[in-house]
Amino acid sequence: MKTVNSSNNIWLEVLRYSVKTAFKSIIHEKWINLLTVLTVSTGLTILSAFIMINTNVNSALQRWAKNFGVVVYLNEDASKEDEFILKKRFSEDADIENVNFVSKDRAFEEIKKTLGPNALILDVFNENPLPSSFEFRLKSNSLVPSVVKQKAAQIGQWPGVQEVQYGEKWLASLNTIVNAMKIVSIIFGTAIFIAVTFITYSTIRIFLHRRKEEIETLKLLGASRSFIRLPFLMEGLFIGTMGGALSSLAIFGLYSFTMYKMVEFLPAIRFIVSSLPLYVYLIIPAAGAAMSLAGSFMAIGKIRY
């Protein structure tokens, strides 16, 4: 006498059972599920809107940072060899790009061009008072005040260099904004993660409580922990994924609507404000699923026989 033979693929059957049970429960508990999905969706939409604002502020800062330049003025007595060595050093530096040498004469010509008809005032000088200089830009990942300050000090020590000029205050402000955005993102992201996880946790706890007797019977009939847990996890997964998907739709709709309305008054806005990258619209449901799954895991807790 033997007990019945199980299927060859027990896991597949348990998964099939779990999906079926979760689906039935979603239908049976439709109102509480709908409410949870909408709450999760609201949380994720707020987070997504924040990510969109953050992305736009970041790209504006990136554009702004592209114009950040450093000017290295040379001594009057800097030799051709000094100029050659400095150019070589700047070209070889991985943090530096767009190196441009401006000779004394070119600097004088440029200032004359800038002054236009007022260039006559330059006649008071007997000779060209402007020094030769190197102009270059720093790559955006090197735009950290401490790094730039250290590099400027280092360059200032090199032979032939008289002075290094860069927008120190401007760079500090830029850095403050970027850091503040990072901190706010972390706090905001954590708060939404906790909120979504807790919402799903509470809902799954309610389901567990309502199906307490069923779980007891399942345990007595020999159901494994996975068999008992999986339907609840599936339900959590559904809540998170649906909440995330709705959030993606909402944020896309919100962006499209805002652009549609704003473009009438401010046509340039379409070039300034960008939507979220496409992959983010897929990440939001995945993130919702992960958060809700975490909440469901915590809600189920340990199953003891």
Binding site: T3, E216, L220
Partner: protein, 220 residues
């Protein structure tokens, strides 16, 4: 098949079973009887690990039940069919689904489940009630659903706790016939009951529990 060796179970300071030793062979049909509170239900619970002994050893087939880890309990229970005193039928599932649940737990595919469940419902004469919910069945019918659920997976052991508690004589007789039939197929059957009419003149082994001990053992 089932061995109790010097098993003691206490609730607090009070012993419910005291140094009980029983040896049940494979294919036996055995009755545990005695007055209320004698420890009949506890004895069954010790077999399917719902309770743990305070002393002694229990083995069921190859399982050392008294030392079984939490992880090992589901597998043991999947090999034991249990007929609960309070039925434990799920009210939101049909008769078919209640019985099918025992096979879903085994990880069986829906095709096989349908075949086995129909077979067992035919056996307990409930095929025409397959799509009804338990609350629309009589006590005797509900009891037969529980029996069907317990026997559908063809367990090694079948435990029945007061299976005829609220049933009339005819229903009780029908259920006893089912047990004999299941036992005839090789399943070891243990019936805990206070109803002496179930085993009188049956020729089956009877263990009488009283005051936490085995007071007597005889053939019914």
């Amino acid at each position: 098949m089932i061995v109790f060796a010097d098993v003691t179970k206490r609730f607090g300071k009070k012993a419910v079973l005291d140094s009980i030793s029983i040896n049940i062979k494979k294919g036996d049909l055995l009755f545990i009887t005695g007055p209320s509170g004698a420890g009949k239900t506890t004895l069954l619970k010790l077999i399917y690990c719902s309770e743990r002994p305070d002393a002694g050893h229990i083995t069921v087939a190859d399982w050392e039940v008294s030392r079984l880890s939490q992880r090992g309990i589901p597998e043991l229970r999947r090999n034991i069919g249990i007929i609960f005193q309070d039925f434990k039928l799920l009210p939101n599932r049909t008769v078919f689904d209640n019985v099918a649940l025992a096979l879903s737990i085994h990880g069986m595919n829906p095709g096989k489940i349908r075949h086995y469940v129909n077979e067992v419902l035919e056996e307990v004469k409930l095929m025409d009630k397959a799509n009804l919910f338990p609350q629309f069945l009589s006590g005797g019918e509900q009891q037969r659903v529980v029996i069907a659920r317990a026997m559908v997976s063809k367990p090694l052991v079948l435990l029945a706790d007061e299976p005829t508690g609220d049933l009339d004589v005819d229903n009780a007789k029908a259920i006893m016939e089912l047990f004999s039939k299941i036992n005839g197929k090789g399943t070891t059957v243990l019936v805990a009951t206070h109803d002496e009419t179930l085993f009188q003149g049956s020729g089956y082994r009877v263990i009488y529990l009283n005051d936490h001990y085995i007071e007597k053992e005889y053939m019914g």
